[in-house]
């Protein structure tokens, strides 16, 4: 990755302009840990949705007892994973891909609102350093800093009711916590729908999922990046 403090990233690196002398190469974008993180998170969220809806009385496909057990264990496992993931993000500097940025945001938003209907190409070109477009980065930032903390925060408070049930009006506050947990959980479900749907835009659905399975994706590399990878990070280069 480029040193951003000394040299600001070139416009193409931010996905704003096509890169004239770049080579399209298949590069390892999602290392094993990131894929493991993504898919175990996806499976966990599915289990949490299923068991949560069961506990909430929406369906009766699972006993309440089993639903509570699964929901609790999977939620705690996911929280542990998030601890590791957060550590990984900050130690590797990968957290930067999730930082929201304004430049290019409008173009992407405009594309989803109009361009896509006219068959335009996606205005954002993935690069080695910026695999998320500005809208994606904004969405993930909101998810990670607002939505998820609300879910796991309310979930932990909910789970540990017995430690605070002696507070005044505890049953009322429990109801509040439960309702927050529930409301935000439904928003996460909405996000899942959106997330999957967006895979159908731009490339085929299959093409969209593939990088997260095999880890590699075709991105534009500058000659300098290419040379660097070939010398120092050959494991990233697939072809």
């Amino acid at each position: 990755m480029t040193d951003q403090t000394t040299k600001p990233p070139a416009p193409f690196e931010r996905g704003l302009t096509p890169c004239p002398d770049c080579a399209e190469r298949e590069v390892m974008i999602y290392p094993r840990f990131e894929r493991l993180w993504h898919w175990s998170q996806a499976a966990s969220i599915m289990i949490l949705m299923f068991t949560g809806l069961g506990m909430n009385g929406v369906h009766n496909l699972i006993s309440f007892e089993l639903a509570v057990r699964l929901h609790t264990l999977v939620a705690l496992a996911l929280l542990l994973l998030w601890v590791f993931a957060t550590f990984w993000l900050f130690t590797t500097g990968n957290y930067k891909v999730f930082l929201p940025r304004v430049v290019g945001l409008f173009a992407v938003a405009r594309y989803y609102a109009f361009g896509v209907f006219k068959g335009e190409h996606h205005p954002y070109q993935k690069s080695l350093g910026q695999r998320l477009n500005p809208l994606q980065a904004l969405a993930y930032a909101a998810l990670k800093t607002v939505i998820f903390p609300l879910v796991w925060g309310s979930g932990l408070v909910y789970l540990t009711y017995n430690f605070w049930e002696t507070l005044p009006n505890a049953p009322f506050w429990l109801e509040v916590v439960a309702n927050i947990h529930l409301a935000v959980a439904y928003i996460v479900a909405g996000f899942v729908i959106l997330h999957v749907y967006l895979l159908t835009i731009g490339h085929s659905f299959r093409e969209g999922v593939r990088p997260m399975v095999v880890g590699t994706e075709t991105v534009a590399l500058t000659p300098e990046q290419e040379a660097y990878l070939e010398r120092h990070e050959t494991w990233r280069l697939v072809d």
């Binding site: 506990m55 909430n56 009385g57 929406v58 009766n60 006993s63 309440f64 007892e65 509570v68 057990r69 609790t72 264990l73 989803y112 896509v116 209907f117 006219k118 068959g119 190409h121 009711y161 017995n162 049930e165 049953p171 009322f172 429990l174 109801e175 439960a178 309702n179 927050i180 947990h181 529930l182 409301a183 935000v184 959980a185 439904y186 928003i187 479900a189 909405g190 996000f191 729908i193 959106l194 749907y197 159908t200 835009i201 731009g202 490339h203 085929s204």
Partner: protein, 546 residues
Amino acid sequence: MRRFGLRAAGLAAIIGLVGAFGAAAQDSAPQISESTTDHSKLKELQKDFASGPEVTEACLSCHTEAATQVKHSVHWKWEFENPSTGQLLGKSHVVNSFCGNVASNEPRCTSCHVGYGWTDMSEPPPAQDAAVDCLVCHDTSGQYAKLDSAAGHPPMEAKGKTITGADAWAVDLKKAAQSVGQPTRENCGSCHFYGGGGDNVKHGDLSSALYHPPLDVDVHMSEDGENFTCETCHHSDKHVFAGSRYDVQAMDLEGTGKPGMMRKDVATCESCHGNSPHDAFSVTGMKLNDHVDRVACQTCHIPSFARGGIATKTRWDWSTAGKMDEHGHPLHLNEYTQGDGKELHTYLATKGDFEYGENVVPYYAWFNGQVEYTATDQVIDPTQVVEINRIEGSPDDGRSRIWPFKRMEGRQAYDSGLNHLVYSNVWGPTTDTAYWTNFDWAKAIEAGMKAAGAEYSGEYGFVDTYMYWPITHMVAPAEDAVACRECHAQDGRMAGLAGVYMPGSNPTSRGALIGIAFFLAMASGVLLHTVIRVVARGGKGGMNHD
């Protein structure tokens, strides 16, 4: 003579040895009585007793303090001053929604007294020590009984009925006296299983099914389980027993006490099982342990009462009593068949209409252990259902838990002039006042009120009542415990119980609706986007742009 004596002694010794070896061959260890006394060897008991009190006198000749101890118990006094409410309760004072009251019905009601000859409720029980009935609790011969209307005396001839409703037989008091031992389920059950005048009529969780219950009816009392007697939990000290229905220990924070300590002064589940009885190393166990401070053990572990084939009376409507058949005889109907095949009265001219239930799902309420009775001098509101006893407790008092109850529905006489509950004289085969003999409420109530020394306006009516019976027996095996979903569901078992937020009871709560609104907005946005893409791109949409 002397030689013969020696020879006889030698022969006897040989026979004795052979006998001993024979016994040893059958049973490796010699049979040793658990008790240090074999009562069949006591000379005091080698006589044909003519009455219960005669047996008691023999008992007291060795057990000199026994009568004094018994006379300090609720079993004897039928009186209980509630230390929390100050109310004077006990069988000698309260009115219930079954046969009503003891006063004026003595020899019938006092047939279950732990004594002999208490025939007047306005007087204390008989003063003489020999009036204590030792055998009703300590007979283990199984053939001692009390007559159903002889103020506690046993049948000395095969005439009449016993307190369990069986045809009476002549009891062998000598055999009974020589058999005495620790009380068994049969001893306690002969009275307590038949409260209210029949098998399981009153409590709902105390029936003859508990003499030899299968494991699924009672894990503690079953011979296939722990084979507990009543006293295993209701431990006694100086003939006074742990456990009270008037002053219940609804929450036991002490648990088992210090390590190795046996708590024998309480009859709570916690005194054996502790305060975190579920597996603390599993999610389910931890969550269940989180429940125990708010939910009584009984609430989950007694999924229903009146199990084991014996129904309990769930409704008793006195107001319809008195109907005669076409021949002018008192009408009776047997239209309920309980699990063990026995037909039960659904109408009796003497008592009115009955309803029964088996495997009854309890009524649940916050309970701090206090039961407040509606005394006969309290003004009631006859337009409402009157609670004969009120279950005290709230989610906020820090000492209540959610308990299961049998809620008995009744319709019974009251003083419509003073708006008081009334005592009534129902039993009295030879009187002209008893309702069961004369079918005249005016006389029956007047006689009952007079016997109880209570004020009566002379006017009566009938009022709907509830009476609550805490459910604590018939603990089911763990796998039969109430499933989480029984409560954690819409219209679950605790629907409507105040002070509870029940997860899972409301899938359309405010938070859920807000969340669903967001979800639908996002999902319909996606749908709309798809439609526009499909329409705008003539079927190809943006699905594939390359």
